[in-house]
């Protein structure tokens, strides 16, 4: 074990929510100049532990120390006061305030001149802080008017303003595109050089093993392993996370492209405003087409426009089998096409209702009888079948969807389309975003099965590894334009994709 200075220590942390034991006797030690990853499946207690460290929740038992001094934060302000900077999992941003105020909110007293704030200094400092990290975010713009990635960059900058001795990043990279992720890695490495202790959570095990010096693995709220040195490798971390051996590669086994001859979708000269322009490609049945690009390349907008969610400014999306042009989501669904959004909480699921209703909604037409009525038994059968077949871990389909972990929510988001009889085309936007390694493997196995069945799949991917591992062809966008289409072949790697991307 390293002899570096211990900056933070937590001993015997317990935390329960009703009958759920989120943390049980968890110990963790963070050292200066060390990148420490916290690993575990969804619901393993990682975010609970981090919320305790950041002062958002109090532990039921246990003690914490910062630089040897007892640390019992009553609020995140205490964390800031101890030079702990953090970025939480969900967006921690106030949409109705400008970016600059968001960066210093909770810590504004330093700008006080008598009873009022020197707002000019706030804007100036925020601009300088963002520029220091190479982030291009307008400081006077309302945060809510910005895309998710820029809001996340605002949060990262906020964490850096406390000049952290300890920097905590909870699933920060999943909201970032490839190029912005590189900037974050640079910040992490610079902070490491400066002697900051970095604690980060990511579901991307490859990314974790690439960056981390030490990995603490939680399973069912308990400490499952503390790994360092050569023990920090993908197979080992996965095995400790799920408690059994996980086979090395959950992507496709071979690097040969394959597809049925029949074309499923013809995308012609498709544009949506300034997001992307003049994109043309086909997707065949039994084929997986990945869509990749840097931030602002327009990949997510392309996925939405293909499904008719965003209106095309020019061009067409045509389905030869049904002789249909897709101009709105209804036309897409009626012609056997489905869309799984990236942001499952705000775009995919109805968060205020149950699993049952979420599973049911896409199949209402099929469930209706001649009189237009839906029999409760048929509805229950469908939602129960979906939950069982797709291994949704729940207390029953009448459970509130909001109570599920991210991975199980994603299973609902996908499975409700797969129980439909006429699914021919599935468009998925970052389907493994924020899910653990077990669910990730499960989703990839589903994608492989769908390909085998002859379903045409479009996979919009922020993670290049996902596109390379799964797609038969990769459509690469740059600045909203089609920059190239790469075919799957044994030598295909990230460098080849980056070359086309940049």
């Amino acid at each position: 074990m390293s002899e570096k200075e211990i900056l933070f220590e937590a001993r015997g942390i317990y935390k329960s929510f009703g009958p759920t034991r989120a943390n049980q006797d968890v110990n963790i030690t963070l050292r200066a100049g060390e990148i420490h990853a916290l690993a575990g499946e969804n619901g393993s207690g990682k975010s609970t532990l981090i919320s305790i460290l950041c002062g958002m929740q109090k532990p039921d038992a246990g003690e914490m120390f910062v630089k040897g001094q007892p640390y019992a934060p009553k609020s995140p302000l205490d964390a800031y006061a101890n030079n702990i900077g953090f970025v939480v999992q969900e967006l921690g941003i106030i949409n109705d305030l400008p970016v600059a105020y968001n960066i210093y909110l909770g810590n504004l007293d330093r700008y006080k001149q008598g009873p009022v704030l020197n707002t000019t200094s706030i804007f100036r400092d925020a601009k300088a802080e963002l520029e220091k990290h190479g982030f291009d975010v307008p400081v006077r713009e309302m945060a809510g008017n910005l895309p998710v990635e820029k809001r996340k960059l605002t949060e990262i900058t906020k964490a850096m303003t406390v000049d952290p001795d300890i920097l905590i990043l909870d699933e920060t990279t999943q909201a970032l595109s490839y190029d912005t992720r590189q900037k974050l890695y640079q910040i992490i490495n610079e902070e490491k050089e400066k002697g900051t202790a970095i604690l980060f959570v990511t579901h991307d095990v490859e990314e974790m093993c690439e960056l981390a010096d030490v990995v603490t693995v939680l399973r069912d709220g308990r400490l499952a392993a503390d790994l360092s040195g050569d023990d920090v490798n993908v197979d080992n971390v996965r095995q400790k996370m799920v408690g059994r051996k996980v086979e090395g590669n959950y992507y496709r086994d071979n690097m040969e492209a394959s597809a049925l001859p029949e074309v499923a979708i013809e995308v012609r000269d498709l544009s949506h405003g300034k997001a992307f322009r003049g994109v043309t490609f086909d997707v065949h049945y039994g084929e997986i087409v990945g869509i990749c690009g840097l931030s602002d390349a327009g990949i997510h907008e392309l996925g939405k426009t293909i499904c008719g969610i965003l209106k095309a400014s020019t061009g067409t999306v045509y389905l030869p089998r049904t002789n249909a042009f897709i101009k709105n989501p209804k036309a897409a669904v009626n012609n056997g096409m489905a869309y799984v959004p990236k942001d499952r909480d705000s775009e995919a699921l109805m968060m205020k209702t149950t699993i049952h209703y979420n599973e049911l909604v896409p199949s209402l037409t099929e469930l209706s009888n001649a009189a237009g009525m839906i029999m409760p038994k048929d509805a229950s059968n469908l939602s129960d079948t979906a939950a069982i077949d797709f291994n949704v871990r729940c207390l029953g389909t009448n459970q509130a969807i909001g109570a599920l972990s991210g991975g199980n929510k994603q299973k609902v988001s996908i499975s409700r389309w797969l129980v439909k009889q006429n699914l021919d085309i599935l468009v998925m936007d970052c389907p493994t975003r924020g899910v653990d390694v077990g669910v990730k493997a499960y989703i990839y196995s589903l994608i492989k099965q769908l390909k085998e069945k002859g379903v045409a799949l479009i996979l919009v991917a922020d993670e290049m590894g996902e596109a390379i591992g799964m797609a038969d062809r990769i459509v690469v966008l740059k600045d909203g334009k089609l920059n190239g289409i790469l075919n799957r072949h044994p030598g295909l790697d990230e460098h080849e994709v980056i070359e086309v991307m940049i």
Partner: protein
Amino acid sequence: MNAKALVNTDTWYGRLVNQLIFPIIIAIIVVIMNLITGGRMLSGNGLYQIFVSSILNAIIGMAISYTWSTGPDFAVAAAYILAANVGIIATVKLGLGYFGLFGGSILTCIVLQLISTWLRIKLKLPSWVLGMAICLIYEAFGVMYSLWCTKQTVGGALIQLGPTDCKGIVRFPADFLLWLGVIVVLMLIQNKTTFGLNYRAVSSNMEVAEHMGINSRKTIYIGVTIGAALMGIAGAFNAASANLVNTTSNLGSFGQIARGLAAWLLSSGMRRMDPVLSIALSSFAISALFVFLTYLGVPQGTWMSFFLGMFIVVFLCLATRSNKKEE
């Protein structure tokens, strides 16, 4: 220079343009109304009439922006009427003049709103549900109090201010200074104080605000106190202007703050403008509309409400076009 660069908040002229867009639009509308009414609206008298009738609704709108920012609380309407009546009694019965009218009204409104807010936080009930219930209770208190006070007078006369009581505040320039003072103080609070930014954060997303270390409960109580104080000022101003504020029941009090509420709603379409200024401007626009309709001979009551409703819908549709997701 393209339109996007013109409203870019990173430049001083962009920020200025953002503040001027809506005043210019409203000014153009008023000029058109002036042409239609044969120049009556933009005469000195016409403009003053519009301005005076906008003061009360502007203050009510600003009060609502605080008391409703964490959820609709209908109790504030009944509190406004009850508080104004307490202010009138303090002036008439105790001879306390302005101090009685404004002090009584502000203090009563603050106490009533804090009770309502405390119950809401303590019972964890939806604000609109608890607000309606408390509104009914406060209205009943208002009616009972008013009846009791009436019984104390010779011949059962209504309690109201005398014809010369506290009239100075509703005359120029005192009314203008009151309006200006409220705007300046609120702009300072909202834009230049830690509390102001904390309150905006709590109103926008309480959970995130708490994660940023803001004491949401304390912030809400301070915000409600400011909102209630403004409502108390509005009640006292209304009483000084009309001599009395009628008590109502069955949620009828809501009607008395409806135009202020409309001003607040209208201001939500002016997102690029300062929130305080946008409420003042909205209130001015609503008053201009009513004066315009009066000149056109539109009957008071239903048709006025119809045109106000239409104006809000059309304005919000146009003003929020750029904020809506492209479909």
